[in-house]
Symmetry: C2
Subunit: 300 residues, 2 copies
């Protein structure tokens, strides 16, 4: 029998909840506990019987910490876990900063002889694997990644962090050839002016490169649906042969897929040698449970 | 500067020709020569200046042998190359026998401290990678692989090997949910009866599991087009969340894509530790030239 992968969920927001569900469905995993900021407050029903603690150090025998924290807190929590010799999985999603995070966490992971699988959601993440395959087998040409329509969790968190925003939803609308419109719906905090808050959102790093519309609404909750999608295309050349056409599509529940990718990455984390890895650096078969031969027989 | 990957093309049929084209387009490759059965006969124009020999042993400093030979000859040529310490890439395409080939070549490769990348076309091959990703991120559900319409090279070679067949074309027609019709067009050899030859084709391992129609035609050449395609779908469950919908599509020139995948596999072959590998066992980034960081920046 293979040993189970012992994980801790660090952060129990939206992704944390779906990660708990995914762990319950994965026979090769066991849950050591959940790390929350306020472990002594009353916990939701579904956490009955699960250790809830304030720090990873309060849990024993953790193989992998699943970092279900906002992107901008990933590095801090990852460094803490790796320094304890605990492997990490994160869903860091600022594409342009992945390389830097990889360098930082690679140093810490190597020093403590453990592993970090970074940017392991669906984009960056499983989509990155598909883009890598597309680039490899059609080496000349253009790949377009078209997201949505759907709620961007990273962008929504970013809006919520902006002064004057009470509640927020950021929808990503594909307008073709990898271009997106951001439709942002917010409830204002009392005493703030719409104009100023809207300006702050439009100037944020997450939004300033895209066409962004901000709408003030009475009830953000009533608009929220976790469905999302992607349509990736590549048209190009294999060898000297033009017009090779590839596409990859998903219509999915966003946090459920993100959580499942994290589970996959955790399997790889306990198999890899020390260091930090993005998903394209991992053999896809290492994302699956059990031994290789059964999967080769089924999937090749 | 990175060293170029020195390759030999073994077999110069349809795939061999496209492989030569792909090598010419790949700056990180150099061609040591081509191994053919009749090296002393007059060679086609495009081989001017390229060493054409009768055995791999007649070429020096070969890193990887690209085995562009019929599936049923792969093992023989792979064992020969691996025993010389030369890594191999093949496009072995009998799905049910891949595991056995992997075991055989793994032993030989390990013994001679080299690598074999097997079943490295597009299916099995790059499609296997996509199926693996789909299985990992949506672990419960059904994947359907729908091929075509297009010429199946493996099936066409199989028909040509049948007694009484002068020329042949086997078309794969998708009828949905992973079920295919085989449309086989043949020219009969003189003196053979259509009925007997058709019976032999329908009883062949390649055809006996599918609905197969064999048509006798005057001119097979006039029917041949190298376009092919695949439509892969998976509908299933991530964590506890149902209705996750994934699909992957290609409309491609078949031998051109196969040749390009072989080039990708050859890059991995020189990076991997000793043994035999299918594509899902290889980090996708190792299919690309140059160093990792440039690709992480571009593709993650």
């Amino acid at each position: 029998m293979n040993k189970k992968v012992k994980v801790a969920i660090v952060g129990y927001g939206n992704i944390g909840k779906y990660t708990l569900e995914a762990i319950k469905q994965s026979e090769d995993f066991s849950l050591a506990g959940i790390v929350r900021r306020n472990p002594n407050e009353e916990q939701p029903q579904e956490l009955a019987g699960i250790p809830v603690v304030g720090s990873l150090g309060a849990l024993k025998d953790v193989d992998v910490a699943l970092l279900c924290v906002p992107t901008r807190s990933v590095e801090k929590y990852a460094v803490d876990a790796l320094s304890r010799g605990v492997a990490t999985v994160d869903t860091f999603d600022i594409h342009g900063d992945i390389l830097e995070l990889r360098r930082t966490l690679n140093d810490v992971a190597c020093k403590h002889k453990t592993t970090a699988v970074i940017a392991a959601g669906w984009d960056p993440g499983s989509d990155s694997v598909v883009r890598t395959m597309m680039e490899a087998i059609v080496p000349r040409g253009i790949t377009y990644t078209n997201f949505g329509p759907g709620m961007s969790m990273g962008h929504t968190v970013a809006v919520k962090a902006i002064e004057g925003v009470e509640k927020a939803l950021s929808m990503t609308i594909p307008v073709g050839t990898g271009i997106h419109r951001r439709m942002v719906y917010i409830e204002l905090k009392e005493g703030y002016s719409a104009g100023e808050v809207i300006q702050r959102i439009k100037e944020d790093d997450y939004f300033k490169h895209d066409e962004t519309h901000v709408l003030i609404v009475d009830d953000v909750e009533a608009l929220i649906d976790m469905g999302h999608g992607v349509h990736m295309t590549r048209k190009g050349v294999s060898g000297a042969t033009h017009n090779q056409l590839l596409s990859f599509d998903m219509k999915i529940n966003n946090p459920a897929l993100t959580a499942q990718v994290m589970i996959c990455a955790a399997r790889a984390a306990v198999r890899l040698s020390s260091g930090a890895y993005t998903l394209p650096e991992i053999a896809p078969i290492d994302l699956l449970p059990g031994d290789r031969e059964q999967w080769i027989k089924k999937l090749c």
